[in-house]
């Protein structure tokens, strides 16, 4: 790695370690990241202090340019920060849609003024973003969206409804796809930003089959977006949206073992199903399917490594990138199904102390996981993309 530009990685590691030791509140050690909780509570004083400390260093977004509030560091240094946080039992308090999707997109498409206005707030964790993309009539066929933005001179007036808006109930701002031209489909869409804290914004959490409410219905009635918050050209939002979805899909395929956390299927099977005299999983049919699944997971991990190495090589981006979302999400779903099956009746609890937290988590995870192959481009849309862009087959949907 040339990221240190002649600098010393061990010196940097020492600097990070000392800084974490001095700044990370002991009471938060090995506590889960509050960003990961769906039902958010008021942050504690320690949580706020940690967020501000990391945010002001730019270390929550270490590879983003420092003039926009990022760390201005290379990937090797970012890795060291991650490792040192992990060593100290510390989480990265800077995250969410702003970091994962909106920030990288704004870096690419935003004006200098837009970057200076919005990115430092993301880097400090002061502003949480939500994504106004899907609508009741525009899911897989996203470009069918109808939320209107009317030109009122110095601002747009927005009317319409979004759905599946992740974390809208906690969001301060929304990056939103709106229709600015009704005579065209893809070429009539613009990408605008506006505050969620204004009259006319109504958010209703949607309760899902797993019992939680990670998504919302979001209604806009005469909501105002300033003209300076149009990203990219008027009616040029579709290509920005496609690029942003690539960031999203990249983040959704992190399967292959580590991504799910928890114990391995083999460990679970030993406990819940037992082993035979040779130490094999006692149910031979289940054993076969577990091996199948383990092999699939390993080959997915090997592909992730290969994609990474190939992207650093000289032959351009790997075609294998296109398979990662489908391969990763179906693998995760199968893992959840097998987990439930292995746990038997204990893997069917909804609540109560008859069930261990691990068991209840398995049930909720299994249900929630059904969304993996629906959001961020459904399995079927991903297959359309592979067949059109990689395999060169004719496109009948004109959607991708």
């Amino acid at each position: 790695m040339a990221d240190f530009g002649g600098g010393d990685p061990e010196a940097f590691r020492k600097e990070v370690r000392e800084w974490v030791d001095a700044n990370f509140p002991a009471e938060l050690k090995s506590r889960p990241n509050p960003m990961m909780r769906e039902e958010r509570a008021e942050p504690s004083e320690a949580q706020e202090a940690w967020r501000k400390a990391v945010g002001s260093k730019g270390w929550g977004t270490p590879t983003w340019p420092s003039q926009y509030g990022g760390g201005g560091l290379g990937t090797a240094e970012a890795r060291i920060i991650q490792q040192e946080f992990g060593r100290a039992g510390a989480y990265n308090p800077i995250g969410g849609m702003g970091v994962m999707m909106f920030g990288p997109t704004l870096l690419e498409y935003g004006t200098e003024d837009q970057k200076l206005e919005h990115m430092p707030l993301i880097c400090r964790g002061d502003v949480q973003w939500c994504q106004g993309f899907s609508e009741p009539g525009a899911g897989s066929d996203l470009a069918a969206l109808q939320t209107r933005a009317e030109d009122k001179g110095d601002h747009f007036l927005i009317n319409g409804q979004k759905i599946w808006t992740s974390g809208a109930q906690y969001a301060d701002w929304c990056f939103c796809l709106v229709r600015t031209d009704t005579s065209k489909k893809h070429e009539g869409i613009s990408f605008v930003l506006f505050s969620m804290h204004q009259p006319g914004v109504e958010v209703r959490p949607i309760k899902l089959i797993a019992g939680n409410s990670p998504f919302c219905e979001t209604f806009f009635t005469d909501v105002l977006a300033e003209k300076k918050n149009l990203v990219g050209p008027l009616n040029g939002g579709w290509s920005i949206a496609k690029r942003l979805l690539q960031h999203e899909r990249g983040g959704l395929s992190g399967a292959g073992g580590g991504g799910m956390g928890g114990r391995s299927l083999v460990d679970l099977a030993r406990e819940y199903v037992g082993v035979d005299a040779q130490g094999r999983i006692a149910d031979p049919d289940l054993r076969t399917r577990v091996v199948h699944h383990e092999i699939e997971g390993r080959s997915f991990q090997q592909t992730a490594v290969r994609v990474m190495l190939e992207s650093k090589g000289n032959s351009g981006p790997s075609a294998a990138t296109s398979i990662m979302k489908n391969a990763g999400t179906s693998w995760m779903q199968l893992r959840q199904e097998l987990t439930l099956e292995i746990m038997g009746h204990q893997g069917l609890g909804w609540e109560g102390d008859t069930f261990k937290p691990e068991e209840l988590g398995a049930v909720r995870g299994w249900l929630g996981g059904k969304a993996f192959t629906i959001y961020g481009g459904s399995q079927e849309v991903q297959s359309n993309i592979i067949s059109k862009r990689i395999l060169g087959l004719p496109d009948l949907t004109q959607n991708n």
Binding site: H292, I295, L309, K312, G313, I323, L393, P394
Partner: protein, 378 residues
Amino acid sequence: MAVLNEEQSMLRDAAKSWTQEKSPVTAFRKMRDSGIEIGYDGKAWNEMAEMGWAGVIIPEEYGGSAFGYLSIGLILEEMGRTLTASPLIASGVGAASALVLGGSDTQKSEWLPKIADGSVVGALAVDEGAHHAPEKVALAATKSDAGYSLSGTKSFVIEGLAASLLVVSARTSGQPGDKDGITLFLVPADAKGVSRKRLALADSRGAANITFDKVEVGADAVLGAVDKGWDVLEKTLDRVRAALAAEMLGAANQAFETTLDYLKVRVQFGQVIGSFQALQHRAAKMFTDLELARSAVEAALQAIDADSPDVPELVSLSKAKMGDVFHLVSNEMVQMHGGIGMTDAHDAGFYLKRARAAEAAFGSQSYHRDRYARINGY
């Protein structure tokens, strides 16, 4: 595709242009139609040997280039694309690996240069039943005045008819199924008491059943240690399995690409059938599986080159995954071609037949899934 060094890129390019020009599928068809008993074109094999392919994993001091297993995998992948038949896996990987891993200096000096230049074809005589089970060795080697006397039979010896040198697993103690008590022997195929029966197989490649009737060999025919042949045998088999998986990767990719080409030209209901989503999504699934399989195959070959301790599990992973994928793609090739895919005049049948033969050779998917689980303690 793995990131290659300059020498590997050159090797791959040479293999690609040679197989495409000198050994397209029509050459395989011609070989099959001619009824050549050994199951490959001897002249083509000489050309391969002249290009140095038989010596890719053999050390330079014994006439090879020592480029390694990922390198020979690149060649085999190109050969798999055009279904090129040759003893490269049996001899240039199988017999060569056994000698490199277990041979004495004398044995290496005697055999490796001839394997590397193609003048000797070696083969592994390992299995004795309908399924790959290398520890189930019954063929007996008993002490005799000259050294050992071998009696028993070996089945489905790949390139067994063409081979002039057989690497034979024999039992010197214990029972069939024991890993201890297996000894490897180097037996010239023309030794007294060796009789070979050609097997005509669906994939038209060379194989034989071989009977050993009191075959006398000297003590110097023992490869490695008496009773302790399992270690070299298993390592050798893993190298053969990984190489075979590379050939399967090439064949499966070509089967897929040929099918994809057809989806773009075959018109029904007034449009190319590749515009139907039912076929597109199956194509996307095959592409996804092929990419996963490529990762597994390349990782296994790289692990062998790095002499990594996880070679056995990575090899079983790759053979199992590759077998599943080739199985799927070869079936879909016939199905998506429709009636034309059922005709002997079309190549689809060749890929289908080769798929099943390659799946079964040196351990089927179920063999390798079971092995993968055992290695990982379940």
